[in-house]
């Protein structure tokens, strides 16, 4: 998959110019603070892409997603000391993001659960243009047709189903983590996954008939 390769080289290659400028500032920065920053970068910033994608799924809008992610990291950094080291940082960040999303967007936007297919199509194409700037595999373009179908099918699902599928299949969280994030018992998570996947299958079968869809030949 095309992600998480070049984006974080920034961390390993400090800008010499920047160091020169900030040696004076470093004096006023406590060692603790510096330690915190390094740790935050190591633990939290690595999940930037995942968070961004999650935000995209929630907002269906790249600039809203960016704002959401920034807000999340701001909060996360501020409350980093309350994060229990050794537990899943990604899950912690996801929870913050979800809460931010609810507070920011859900309260004043249109009815939830209504899917705008034109919006999805436009959005998907706008994202594809952006991605063409980065080096993309030729074969991915061929797959992108099918991507769109799966993407649409996923987004046609009711939100509770879509969300657990995303958290489980795309992000790889455990049932326990998901249950915590969506604030429902594990049994509910299980049944939502079951029903969600079933619905998704039915949707995809419709597409498969149209396009002679075949997953076996991949990799």
């Amino acid at each position: 998959m095309l992600f998480e390769t070049g984006g974080f080289q920034l961390m390993d290659k400090p800008d010499p110019a920047r160091n020169v400028k900030t040696t004076t500032q470093k004096v006023s920065l406590s060692r603790e603070e510096r330690q915190k920053q390094l740790e935050f970068q190591k633990e939290a910033v690595v999940h930037l892409n995942s968070l961004y994608n999650y935000a995209l799924h929630l907002t269906m809008n790249p600039s809203d997603a960016e704002d959401l992610v920034q807000e999340t990291y701001l909060k996360a950094y501020r409350f980093f000391n309350s994060f229990e080291r050794g537990t899943n940082c990604k899950a912690w960040l996801f929870k913050i993001l979800k809460n931010n999303y609810i507070n920011r967007f859900r309260k004043n936007s249109k009815e939830p659960g209504k899917v705008d297919y034109d919006l999805i199509k436009d959005f998907y194409h706008s994202i594809k243009d952006v991605q063409n700037d980065t080096s993309e595999d030729e074969s991915d373009y061929f797959h992108s047709l099918l991507h769109e179908e799966v993407y649409q099918a996923l987004h046609s699902l009711p939100e509770e189903f879509r969300e657990v599928i995303q958290l489980c299949d795309i992000e790889g969280f455990t049932y326990e983590e998901i249950a915590n994030m969506v604030e429902s018992p594990i049994g509910t998570v299980r049944s939502r996954l079951y029903r969600g996947r079933k619905l998704l299958r039915e949707q995809l079968e419709g597409y498969a008939k149209k396009y002679g869809f075949n997953t076996d030949k991949d990799q």
Partner: protein, 67 residues
């Protein structure tokens, strides 16, 4: 069923599940379908790279130059 697909069953539960599958074609088929669906999602949903502007601003947020 979904727990089996996601490897969330205990050893004992899994054994019981597999035993049942060996005897029940319908469930075996459904299990295969569910696994396929999960695979489709994992492979087909593209994860987008965060835009450089976002990366930059997050780095700025958490690095020495911001004070």
């Amino acid at each position: 069923m979904s727990a089996a697909v996601d490897f969330e069953l205990s050893l004992k539960e899994e054994q019981g599940f597999l035993l049942h599958l060996s005897e029940c074609k319908e469930c075996q088929d459904e299990f295969d379908e569910a696994k396929k669906t999960k695979m489709i999602i994992k492979e087909k949903i593209v994860q987008f790279k965060a835009p450089q502007s976002l990366i930059d601003s997050i780095m700025e947020l958490t690095s020495v130059s911001v004070h």
